[in-house]
């Protein structure tokens, strides 16, 4: 089952650690200075997503079980 990938934009400080750890799942929006999940982010290797979640310096990323197709 795909993962639900959420970034809290109020917590993100644009360190781009998630982009470094899982570039297929996250990109940095340079205009906003925050990271956003890419389409299909929930489909990549779960361990990489957990690495990004753990590596985020502000705890802005949450990886959970997907229950909503639109959130993938």
């Amino acid at each position: 089952m795909p993962a639900r990938v959420i970034i809290d934009p109020d917590l993100c400080i644009g360190s781009a650690e998630c982009n470094r750890l899982a570039p297929e799942a996250f990109r940095l929006d340079e205009d906003l200075g925050v990271s956003v999940p890419l389409p299909g982010a929930g489909l990549i290797d779960r361990e990489r997503l957990y690495d990004a979640e753990a590596g985020c310096p502000t705890g802005a990323i949450t990886i959970g079980e997907d229950v909503d197709e639109a959130a993938r």
């Binding site: 993100c12 400080i13 360190s15 781009a16 340079e30 906003l32 753990a54 310096p57 705890g59």
Partner: protein, 416 residues
């Protein structure tokens, strides 16, 4: 309530400290004598909190992207290292700490936004002197004579503004004005640095940069942070390696041949000798960390130096200097020395490179960090203790990991 009157809570456990570093109720602002308005660090990113801190970091973090760091580490810094070490090391002895400062200040100045000639030693020495003053200011809570430090820091802000920041500011302002007037070519001249992005985004009220002094202090903060810690870490890495005597010589030779070993030396040095051994926070509201109740207005001391020696995480001999040690999965080899949470050191990847996993593997995109490059460049010259001169600690601070002088003797020339 001053900092000395507050109830104090000390956290020593790795996970509790990490939790505290993420807790929005714990702030880096302290009392009116140290960090509030009118004071020497007023409004700088490292002591701001909440929304303004996040807004500032979002803008400033753009200067710490991996592509930029690769440019520094793979192109700019190696050439600079070769040149400056060739000039700075005369004969077979040298004082490592000031050399580390001079090497570090070049890229720190470039990243901060000062337009300097990388090869102009009098300018570099002038900047290092300023960094030394700002470092005393950043450690004001441990200063032996805080009032004297405050006066010196204020005077030095005036000097750095007049000599370096204003000329750089005016140049960038001209380019920004031309760019906004439709001159697309002018935009290509715009430097990539902290001063530039602050000026570009200054109108955003979330950044709270209306006061010119805040921009001066912010640029000075990045100059200081990018210089002092790297030079101290280089010196501590040399000191810890020398402490291993014969094994240390083998380690230095391995680091000379393998940048990954040099990086592990740096990470292990940071673990044992964090630049800020005890981080401090103020509780804006009552909170609970790892089961410990913290009242509002309490001073919270985060003993990173202790947490970095937890045998559960760093093995059965955590006090030993062992760059090849295995650490618990998910734990950084440098422990908590770069902090964590929103205030995690923005220059972590510049100085320390990317984290190294439990398998010690480093891929093609891996960055080793500028301190590892410096350590390797010194290691290639075969350094050993100078039998005629002893190292001297910086006695102006109570932090025992700060050096003023560290003489070494080299066995080999620049070719290694």
């Amino acid at each position: 309530m001053t900092i000395t009157e507050r109830p104090t809570v000390v956290l020593r456990d790795h996970d509790a400290i990490r939790q505290a570093l993420f807790d929005p109720n714990l702030s880096r602002t302290f009392d009116s004598r140290s960090y509030h308005e009118g004071n020497i660090r007023d409004g700088v990113v490292s002591v701001s909190h909440g929304a303004v801190h996040r807004a500032r970091r979002r803008v400033e973090n753009s200067q710490f992207r991996a592509d930029r760091l690769r440019l520094y580490e793979r192109e700019l810094f190696p050439a600079l290292l070769d040149h400056l070490l060739g000039v700075l090391i005369e004969g077979d002895t040298a004082d490592i700490f000031p050399i580390g400062e001079l090497l570090s200040v070049v890229l720190a100045a470039r990243r901060a936004g000062l337009d300097i000639d990388d090869h102009d030693l009098p300018t570099l020495r002038d900047l290092v002197h300023m960094v030394d003053v700002f470092s005393q200011g950043s450690a004001i809570l441990d200063a032996r004579d805080p009032d004297a430090v405050r006066a010196l820091v204020r005077k030095t802000y005036d000097a750095i503004e007049a000599r370096y920041i204003r000329p750089a500011w005016e140049r960038r302002a001209r380019i920004l004005e031309a760019t906004s007037g439709g001159d697309g070519a002018a935009g290509e001249e715009l430097p990539h640095d902290i001063l530039t992005v602050l000026l570009q985004h200054r109108a955003d009220p979330a950044l709270e940069l209306g006061d010119d002094g805040r921009i001066v202090r912010e640029v000075a903060t990045y100059l200081q942070g990018g210089t002092h810690t790297s030079a101290q870490t280089l010196t501590n890495a040399i000191d810890l390696s020398f402490g291993l005597t014969d094994e240390g010589r083998v380690l230095i030779d391995r680091a000379a041949a393998d940048l990954a070993v040099a990086q592990r030396v740096v990470h292990e040095t940071l673990r044992l000798r964090p630049t800020t051994p005890k981080m401090k926070r103020r509780a804006l509201a009552a909170t609970t960390i790892a089961g410990v109740d913290i009242p509002a207005e309490a001073l919270v001391v985060l003993d990173a130096a202790n947490a970095n020696r937890d045998p559960e995480l760093f093995g059965p001999d955590p006090d030993a200097f062992d760059p090849d040690r295995r650490v618990a999965p998910g734990v950084a080899r440098w422990g908590l020395s770069f902090g964590a949470g929103p205030h995690q050191c923005p220059g972590r990847s510049v100085a320390g490179g990317f984290p190294v996993g439990d398998d010690l593997a480093t891929g093609e995109d891996h960055l080793f960090g500028l301190v590892a490059l410096m350590f390797q460049a010194v290691a290639k010259r075969g350094p050993g203790p100078d039998p005629t001169r002893s190292p001297e600690r910086d006695t102006r601070t109570e932090r025992e990991t700060r050096w003023a002088h560290y003489p070494v003797r080299f066995e080999r020339g620049a070719s290694g």
